[in-house]
């Protein structure tokens, strides 16, 4: 069986980086690690189809021996869909655990008292959005700094205005 060396190297690097990031404490990094490892495995499946060849469609004058193996691609497609679903769920889990970390001990009792819940939620949200605003201001400031130092570009990027 022939395989592309470049693909094998990329797969190995993705596995290595994925395992490294997966072992971190932060959930977001665990997720990134999982995505790297999952895609490295998809590459592994692709490598197992051997060298690349003609599209696997029966055409006159093309020897079936020259076809690329379509089966691993079908497997990869399924694996990608599954990984996508799991990633979406883990993202929801990360959001929920961030939320609980914000609320501390009150996190578990939120569901029971709706009145307090609404107030508390508002508080946490405003805190979070304040953080976001501060972050955006910092980013805008740095962009402005870059713009000033360049001085050659008079028009700001459309994404910069809000």
């Amino acid at each position: 069986m022939n395989a592309s060396l470049a693909l094998i190297v990329v797969m190995a690097v993705m596995y290595a980086a994925g395992v490294y990031v997966l072992l971190e404490r932060s959930l977001t990094r665990v997720l990134i690690g999982f995505m790297l490892i999952g895609n490295a495995t998809n590459l592994l499946i692709l490598i197992m189809s051997g060298r690349a060849g003609a599209p696997p469609i029966i055409t006159d004058g093309v020897d079936p021996q020259d076809f690329t193996d379509p089966m691993p691609q079908a497997l990869i497609l399924t694996a990608i869909v599954i990984n996508f679903g799991v990633t979406a769920f883990v993202l929801a889990l990360i959001y929920r655990s961030w939320w609980l970390a914000r609320l501390g001990d009150q996190g578990d009792t939120v569901v029971l008292e709706h009145e307090e819940d609404a107030g508390l939620a508002q508080e946490v949200f405003s805190e979070a959005s304040e953080d976001d605003d501060a972050l955006h201001e910092a980013l805008d400031a740095s962009e402005a700094y870059v713009d000033e130092s360049m001085e050659a570009e008079p028009a700001p990027e459309p994404g910069g205005e809000r």
Binding site: P72, A79, L93, S97, L112
Partner: protein, 527 residues
């Protein structure tokens, strides 16, 4: 009749979809999920009857012949697993409905519970009916995806923490499994299990050994075998009682089922995949002994049962690693016994939690007087799991030990000794629960009961400052548990028939050429 096999998967999937759409009406959801699981139980019973009378049945999905399309293949072993899991799923569903009605649906958001539960069922049934390695992976992912949602139901802090452990571990095991499938495809050019079995004989010994170990690693994490078992007692007990019960009964057994298929069909001892029976014996011994030692020091009954669950997986691995017809026969019986008994015990603990307000042994007392029915419902499966004759636990363990003695060899005798000790320690751990929670009077607890045993116990870290909340026990929960106890007793009464069935099953799954001839009728001449 072949239409029955796809029905096993279609009914729960359609049920999940309709239950999701009808999320406004709780009654309708209950009706949909109970009728879906009742239907699968009937279909599974028909499949058991059919596979026993007429041999295994094969369905080529979309009418694509075996090596190209997906093959669904149900023999006696698959059919029996389908039947047992349908019955258990139905019993637990009734229990969950009872609990949901009593709680006013506070703890379990029912709109999600019913569709997810049916998805879990569909995933299980896919895994048990498939004759295709990649489809087995899809089945695993279906049931794991559903189990992630069920485990983190409600999204409380403790459940999210437990869920993260469980999810990350499951993802790693899935990656192992998928990588193993990729390499098997690279080596043999197929993912059809029968065709893999056919071609594995031509592989060089080292390649086959690598593939064998990769597959076993993925399954061993799912089945919670010894070095890979520490995630289980940390993640299962925090879920709601019915969810824990279903996980304990069924999820690890899917791993065991896959290991049985790997060892009998894909990589038999005679093939080039290497003889891993002796290492598996040691793994079985370690799983048995270390698991049960963990159980003896737990204060929380749910955690204690999770440790006995891990420990008893060792019995099944022991039976598989014997590899003989007797060993496989006893394994089949033990799997059936363990699924039902472990689930029933968790359901009984759910009742204890409602009557006593906690599952910590150091805070429970006097339950025998307060709730005699719950006491009976706990006592019978507890004796059963501990291996007291005449219950099915005794029969299953005796079957395994006889099969071991038949095989001989010092390693086997060491494992037999470990298995007997584990059985006794299981009884010890469960009778401690009985003594503390049921037999100890309330006065003893109030007067500051203390013993050397109580002082050595490890409390559940998550339930450290939880308040005792006693809740009424609805009749439906009690009757569902009673029904499950009746099923475990039926396993004792019909043990003769089941062992005879197990013998035919063992003969069938060991006959690789027969399996290959069934799935690939046109290709036998190649092999």
């Amino acid at each position: 009749m072949h239409v029955l096999i796809p029905l096993m998967v279609l009914i729960p999937l359609l049920g999940a979809a309709t239950a999701l759409v009808s999320s406004r009406s709780h009654r309708l959801q209950v009706a949909i999920s109970t009728s879906a699981l009742s239907m699968t139980t009937v279909v599974a019973a028909l499949l058991v009857w059919r596979s026993d009378a007429q041999g295994a049945s094969v369905v080529y999905v979309g009418n694509w012949a075996a090596p190209w399309g997906i093959t669904l293949w149900v023999d006696r072993f698959s059919a029996m697993m389908l039947l047992v899991s349908s019955v258990v799923l139905l019993g637990v569903l009734v229990y969950a409905v009872g609990q949901g009605i009593a709680d006013g649906n506070r703890e379990t958001p029912v709109t999600i519970f019913h569709p997810t539960y049916l998805m879990l069922a569909a995933g299980l049934f896919v895994a048990f009916t498939t004759g295709d390695l990649f489809n087995l992976y899809v089945g695993f992912e279906l049931l794991l995806g559903a189990s992630y949602v069920l485990l983190t139901l409600g999204g409380t802090g403790a459940r999210i923490r437990a869920g993260v452990t469980y999810i990350v571990i499951s993802l790693v095991s899935s990656v192992f499994f998928l990588a193993a499938i990729a390499m098997i495809y690279g080596a043999t050019g197929t993912v059809n299990m029968a065709q893999v079995a056919q071609r594995i004989g031509d592989l060089p010994a080292d390649t086959a050994l690598l593939l064998h170990v990769m597959l076993l690693l993925g399954f061993a994490i799912k089945a919670a075998l010894f070095p890979m078992s520490f995630w289980l007692p940390d993640s299962y007990p925090t879920a709601p009682a019915p969810v824990t019960a279903v996980f304990a009964g069924l999820l690890t057994k899917v791993g065991v089922y896959a290991i049985v298929r790997t060892e009998t069909l894909l990589f038999p001892t005679s093939g080039p995949g290497g003889d891993l029976r002796t290492p598996m014996m040691w793994v079985a011994l370690a799983t048995l002994v270390i698991g049960i030692l963990g159980a003896t020091v737990q204060a929380d009954i749910k955690r204690l049962l999770s440790f006995t669950l891990v420990s008893h997986i060792g019995y099944m691995i022991f039976g598989i690693s014997l590899g003989s017809r007797l060993g496989l026969n006893a394994t089949v019986y033990y799997v059936i016994h363990h699924i039902t008994v472990q689930t029933t015990l968790f359901l009984a603990v759910g009742l204890i939690e409602r009557v006593g307000g906690t599952t910590s042994m150091s805070k429970l007392s006097g339950l025998l007087k307060r709730a005699p029915i719950v006491a009976v419902l706990f006592f019978i499966p507890a004796l059963n799991l501990g291996g007291i004759p005449p219950f099915s636990g005794f029969l299953g363990k005796a079957g395994l030990l006889v099969a071991g003695a038949d095989e001989g060899g010092w390693v086997v005798w060491v494992v037999i000794a470990g298995a007997v000790a584990t059985s006794l320690l299981t009884l010890y751990a469960l009778m401690r629960v009985w003594n503390m929670a049921f037999w100890r009077s309330d006065e003893e607890l109030e007067q500051g009961y203390s013993s050397r045993y109580i002082n050595t116990l490890v409390e559940n870290p998550d339930a450290a400052q939880s308040v005792q909340v006693k809740e009424p026990t609805p009749r439906l929960m009690v009757s569902a548990t009673a029904g499950m106890v009746a099923v475990t007793l039926a396993l004792t009464i019909f043990a003769g028939n089941l062992f005879a069935f197990g013998d035919r099953t063992a003969a069938e799954i060991s006959d690789r050429d027969g399996v290959i001839a069934q799935v690939l009728p046109d290709q036998v001449s190649h092999g």
